[in-house]
């Protein structure tokens, strides 16, 4: 009996920290291979590669904590990048271009918020449709051709290095991480988000302004996605309508893998960071081991199915216990 209880306990801990377990397993596995995995350069590179997705995830996490979801973030990212490049190419100052891109993201978030929070539609399906719409807009804007940026200054945004070694993207990511961490942890807005996601009715009865706050969460998600889009465009020195095709699903899956649940109210920035890092780590390991790109995609798909399905399964067990 006590052995069984112990097993249950261990299982409970593991199921809460799926992502951490996965990271440790991967790191242990890599010890047995002679690769460049354990070099500072590799880790810095991993951070840089994952930075854009992480930034998108920070915004999306706010929406997910509120009990929502934003699958349109890929489209918003794409749109933000293209707008910024177009405006810079027209000779506008970079700061203005960035602001314009952010506003576009905010507008998308506002519309999502209207449909989901105000009109009470199912966030998953409506933001999926929104993603498709944005995709079309991006293709229309660029005629489906990549749009090269002519400004060297703009390119520098994401490609420079601080202190000679640290890529600027990593720095942006860390700064945003800290900002969002503090917002969600230490402000009444952040705490109210948790309350809304945790139990909408109780939050409403406790006098929390549920509609504006949840709506704002969607606007934040949109804005941050657009910011990530600008950084991606700067990194690639291009705005293109093919960016962000899989971002929406990948980021949302990463958020869930980290432990932020779609039921809302649980998780946070640390969890989301880890969740997306797992995906990057898996890719990196497979690269290091020379796994074929197609097989990488296969493993990624299997990983998503396993993680989300085990999440469902946990809820099913809980339902049946009552």
């Amino acid at each position: 009996m006590s052995a069984k209880a112990n097993v249950n306990k261990i299982w409970a801990v593991i199921s809460k920290q799926k992502a951490v377990v996965a990271i440790i397993a991967l790191m242990v596995m890599m010890l047995f291979f002679d690769t460049t995995f354990y070099t500072p350069y590799n880790w810095l590179d991993m951070l840089r590669s994952t930075a854009i997705l992480e930034i998108v995830a920070f915004g999306v996490t706010v929406a997910v904590i509120c009990g929502g979801c934003d699958l349109s973030c890929g489209g918003t990212l794409c749109l933000g990048g293209i707008l910024a490049v177009m405006m810079v190419n027209k000779g506008m100052p970079i700061w203005l271009a960035v602001i314009a891109a952010l506003v576009s993201g905010a507008v998308v978030g506002f519309i999502n918020g209207f449909l989901v929070v105000h009109q009470k539609t199912e966030p998953f399906i409506i933001t999926l449709g929104m993603g498709m719409l944005l995709k079309g807009i991006c293709q229309q804007l660029t005629d489906a051709h990549p749009l090269t940026c002519t400004s060297l200054e703009f390119m520098k945004l994401s490609n420079m290095k601080f202190f000679g070694t640290v890529p600027s993207l990593v720095v942006y990511m860390l700064v945003l991480f800290i900002i969002f961490y503090c917002i969600m942890r230490f402000t009444s807005f952040g705490r109210n988000c948790y309350a809304i996601g945790g139990n909408y009715e109780v939050a409403k009865y406790s006098g929390i302004k549920v509609v504006p706050i949840k709506w704002a969460a969607f606007i934040i998600s949109g804005t941050v996605s657009a910011l990530a889009g600008v950084l991606l465009a700067s990194r690639m020195n291009t705005g293109s309508s093919v960016y962000g095709d899989t971002t929406g699903m990948l980021v949302n899956c990463g958020v869930v893998i980290g432990g932020t649940s779609f039921a809302g109210g649980v998780g946070g920035m640390v969890e989301s960071f880890i969740g997306l890092f797992v995906i990057q780590l898996l890719t990196n390991c497979m690269n290091q081991l020379g796994v074929d790109g197609y097989y990488q995609r296969l493993f990624e798909g299997i990983l998503i199915v396993i993680i989300i399905a085990s999440d469902c399964f946990g809820r099913k067990l809980k339902r049946e216990r009552v």
Binding site: E122, G136, Q139, F262, R297, I302, I304, R315, K316
Partner: protein, 322 residues
């Protein structure tokens, strides 16, 4: 009596706003551009129908059952490449049948995974089927190594596929006849058989259907298997027309299929709807595309239009009463 009649007309309008909107648009185009109703264009439209109606037909059952399926992208791609690959070893008929069986199996597999982990909400279903889709697409990539497979590569004449793809009886394309056959079959399946009823009852109220003695899990797997089979048909229709298949040829079909179903008036809440309505949705969406061609709008603008219609349709669907 007349009053109740006008009331029911208003009611019909309310329930089918999107549908009516598109009809108005088409009428306006027909008046503005007389070529639109010309015989050449009508023939063109019939040809354009292509694989989408099959995909939408299958999706109808999943949505009537109260769920959704994003994995048809992967199913269409994988079935396409496997069917072409099997032509040489199995012959045409064998390859065709094998492709259909594979499609039904992949669909059933979706249902199996979903029932095994107890996925109940649309969010869970959405993400798991997305993950399954990546798995199927990755398998297709591994199978083809990203190459385009061609029917005509071999020297034998592949009559079945070419007849399906471009044959005519009179002026009516054979593909259309095959489709109409399946449309009738599926309509009868939905309205006349106990399995079709079970799917609808499950979509209407899972708990009630369960307590009345329906095997809800088996019904769910059935709905997904049908969707898989119809996706396989869509895949065959596609490869017969273009005589090639790639690992990504299914891209975009999931959103388009959902679009047709929702525009036709089948509600995402489950339970209510019909394959005939979906057919109407398919025709209208195809006509809409044709309209926009006539008005010289770019294909990208068409994506924007479809996305907008999808978002609006979902929004209005959510506002419908029971």
């Amino acid at each position: 009596m007349t009053k109740t009649k006008s009331n029911s007309a208003v009611e019909f309008l309310k329930q089918n706003l999107v549908l009516c909107g598109i009809v108005v648009l088409i009428i306006v185009t027909a008046i503005a551009e007389p070529k639109f109703v010309g015989a050449a264009n009508l023939n063109n439209i019939l040809r354009q129908l292509g694989p989408l109606p099959f995909a939408a037909l299958g999706m109808t059952f999943v949505i009537i059952g109260g769920f959704i399926d994003l994995s048809i992208v992967g199913i269409i791609s994988l079935v396409g490449v496997v069917t072409i690959g099997l032509i040489d070893p199995l012959g045409q008929v064998g390859a065709l049948l094998a492709g259909l069986v594979l499609g039904a199996f992949l669909g059933w597999l979706n249902g199996f995974v979903l029932t095994a982990c107890g996925a109940m909400t649309q969010a869970e279903v959405l993400f798991i089927t997305y993950g399954m889709s990546s798995v199927y697409t990755a398998l297709a990539l591994i199978y083809t190594k990203s190459e385009t497979l061609r029917i005509a590569r071999s020297s034998k004449p592949y009559t079945i596929f070419t007849t399906l793809g471009s044959g005519n009886i009179g002026i009516i394309p054979i593909a259309l006849i095959v489709f109409l056959l399946f449309l009738i079959l599926m309509h009868l399946f939905h309205t006349k058989t106990i399995w079709g009823r079970a799917i609808a009852l499950m979509g209407g109220n899972k708990d009630a259907a369960y307590l009345v003695g329906f095997n809800v899990k088996a019904t769910m797997r059935l709905a997904y298997a049908i969707n898989g089979l119809m996706s396989a048909l869509a895949s065959v229709a596609l490869l017969s027309r273009v005589t090639t298949a790639t690992a990504t040829s299914g891209a975009g079909y999931e959103t388009n299929a959902i679009l047709c179903v929702v525009v036709g008036g089948t509600t995402l809440k489950g339970g209510k709807g019909s394959v005939l309505r979906t057919m109407l949705g398919v025709v209208l969406i195809t006509l809409l595309g044709n309209c926009m061609n006539m008005l010289n709008l770019s294909t990208y603008m068409q994506t924007v239009m479809r996305g907008t219609v999808l978002v609006i349709a979902i929004w209005l669907d959510n506002r419908k009463e029971l």
